[in-house]
């Protein structure tokens, strides 16, 4: 599907989503509380078939977090970017590890580095840091006088 077709199709399916302009790939912003249902729709709706989640990241905007999901359909070869704004004081969003198995590790990484909690995740533990580590290293306000050297 081309970008325009995808945009119109998504507009029908997800009326609550807002589109971002001027990006390389179709980008939508959704409400995190509706993420699970939307993810299922994106994965299983024939014509969309977004089965390949190739990047799951989190961006710390100092006032809020944004979860960014890059996904692709191996059948139709279109790419969609889904964003969700999270509250910085209590970042929480539904897990999609049962829809895309790759999300299991990616969400653990996001939890480890940002502190985002994924509800219903089968095994939400720190991935890179040790179990006893305090703090969320990739947040913009993370202070570590021992390990971080500011030039």
């Amino acid at each position: 599907m081309t970008k325009e077709e995808l945009k119109s199709r998504l507009g029908e399916l997800l009326p609550s989503a807002t589109f971002e302009e001027g990006t390389e790939w179709t980008t939508i912003m959704i409400d995190p509380s509706a993420w699970k249902g939307i993810a299922r729709q994106l994965r299983f709706t024939p014509g969309l078939d977004l089965d390949y989640l190739f990047c799951l990241s989190c961006v710390d905007w100092k006032t809020h977090f944004t979860m960014v999901y890059h996904m692709e359909s191996t059948l139709h070869r279109h790419i969609l970017v889904v964003k969700a704004k999270l509250d910085r004081s209590d970042p929480e969003i539904a897990t999609v590890s049962d829809i895309w198995r790759t999300a299991e590790f990616h969400e653990r990484e996001a939890y480890d580095l940002f502190g985002v909690r994924f509800t219903d995740h089968p095994d939400l533990r720190r991935l890179f840091m040790t179990e006893e580590w305090k703090g969320w290293p990739l947040r913009k306000d993370y202070e570590d006088p021992v390990n971080m050297i500011k030039l």
Binding site: T23, F54, H70, R101, L113, L138
Partner: protein
């Protein structure tokens, strides 16, 4: 290296493998739950070489951060750098001169071959055949010599800059690469004779570590791991960059899903890389090797994503820029990370000896996973 951790209630044994390994995979710590000889669960523990590269890059300029990625997947260092440079060029709308494009692709394919050669030697060594390792490294030396002459380094090349390459090719480059092509075309047949058709090797590889097509896509596997299960995912074919559109090469896909299929994919890729190098080496266009760019690069506000095909799979660079001289947030989508998540699924029900074979065909480089 292997010590017993505990025994679960069902009488299953929990043992450690790593983080020090006799093979060249890096510091990977696996906790395996065994029932007798059969694996019930594999749990990787990562983070032994986590250097928080993503955080580091937030304080490096757009010219500097490229070279940190060489240290991530050090076997495809050139290709990683290429991905970063493509992302920066996308943001700044820089047009790369044709000569630089061809040089970059040549170096990419040489790096891919070097990586696959090391993979082949290490896999054969893991499975028990100790000699192919030396053969692989002997041929790899030829590529290292070529790299050293032009780029100055053998492993972490640091050769690409946004806009082109750092310096022009060495005058000897064409001659040496042509010599290498003649040398390796005969050697790769030797490799097939030695290992690929060996009955014992096939017995160790066939039927082991099955990954179905749907699982491969769901686990986010890319590169030879996914192509061994029949998934078409070669970024060079699907979303061509640089000069890949004008080249004649095939995407090697094997529908088998087991270790032997993944092995055949990489052997096929080596031959394809050889053919690509052969097509390009006589047709390097004259001209500039670097586009004119400002000394200090500032990407405009926005987000940019570039994808390249490394030896391990799809490498993605996601830059979120706020208009400054350093990126606001960089995310590196590493191929090994997703490939590793499929290890548990593939290894269940097999023996420990098979686990070694599966990890070998996944071609994991742990610094790539841990970043």
């Amino acid at each position: 290296m292997i010590e017993e951790l505990s025994t679960t209630e069902q009488g299953e044994l929990v043992i450690n493998i790593g983080p020090q390994h006799p093979s060249t995979h890096g510091v990977l710590h696996l906790i395996i739950t065994l029932n007798g000889e059969t694996i019930r669960k594999v749990e990787p523990h990562l983070g032994y070489i986590h250097r928080s590269i993503e955080k580091m890059c937030e304080s490096l300029s757009y010219r500097q951060f490229i070279y940190v990625t060489s240290r991530m997947d050090y076997l495809s260092s050139h290709i990683n750098n290429h991905g970063c440079a493509l992302c920066v060029e996308k943001g700044l709308q820089i047009e790369v001169p044709p000569r630089a494009k061809v040089i970059r692709v040549l170096m990419d394919e040489l790096t891919r071959m070097a990586s696959h050669q090391l993979w082949w030697g290490a896999l054969a060594m893991d499975v028990g055949a100790l000699t192919p390792f030396f053969h692989a490294f002997r041929e790899r030396e030829a590529i290292n010599d070529i790299m050293e002459e032009t780029c100055g380094a053998r492993l972490t090349m640091n050769y690409i800059v946004p806009g082109g390459v750092m310096i022009d090719l060495h005058p000897n480059f064409q001659h040496k690469v042509k010599e290498f092509i003649t040398l390796f075309s005969s050697k790769i047949d030797e490799y097939d004779d030695l290992v690929t058709d060996n009955v014992i090797f096939r017995g160790r590889m066939e039927g082991v570590g099955y990954l179905s097509k749907e699982d491969a896509i769901s686990y986010g596997c890319s590169g030879p791991t996914a192509r061994g299960s029949g998934v078409s995912c070669d970024i060079r074919k699907l979303y061509p960059y640089e000069v890949y559109e004008q080249l004649k090469f095939e995407e090697i896909r094997v529908t088998g899903g087991d270790c032997y299929a993944r092995y055949l994919v990489r052997m096929g890729e080596m031959r394809q890389s050889l053919s690509i190098i052969g097509q390009l080496i006589d047709n390097i266009p004259e001209g500039e090797f670097q586009a004119k760019t400002k000394a200090v690069l500032k990407l405009p506000k926005g987000e940019f994503y570039s994808r390249v095909e490394t030896a391990r799979g799809e490498f993605g660079v996601y830059i979120v820029s706020e208009g400054g001289t350093t990126p606001y947030r960089i995310k590196f989508r590493s191929p090994g990370f997703s490939n590793l998540s499929a290890l548990d699924h593939m290894a269940r029900g097999h023996k420990i000896g098979d686990l070694v074979a599966i990890m070998g065909t996944l071609d994991l480089v742990i610094p790539d996973i841990d970043r």
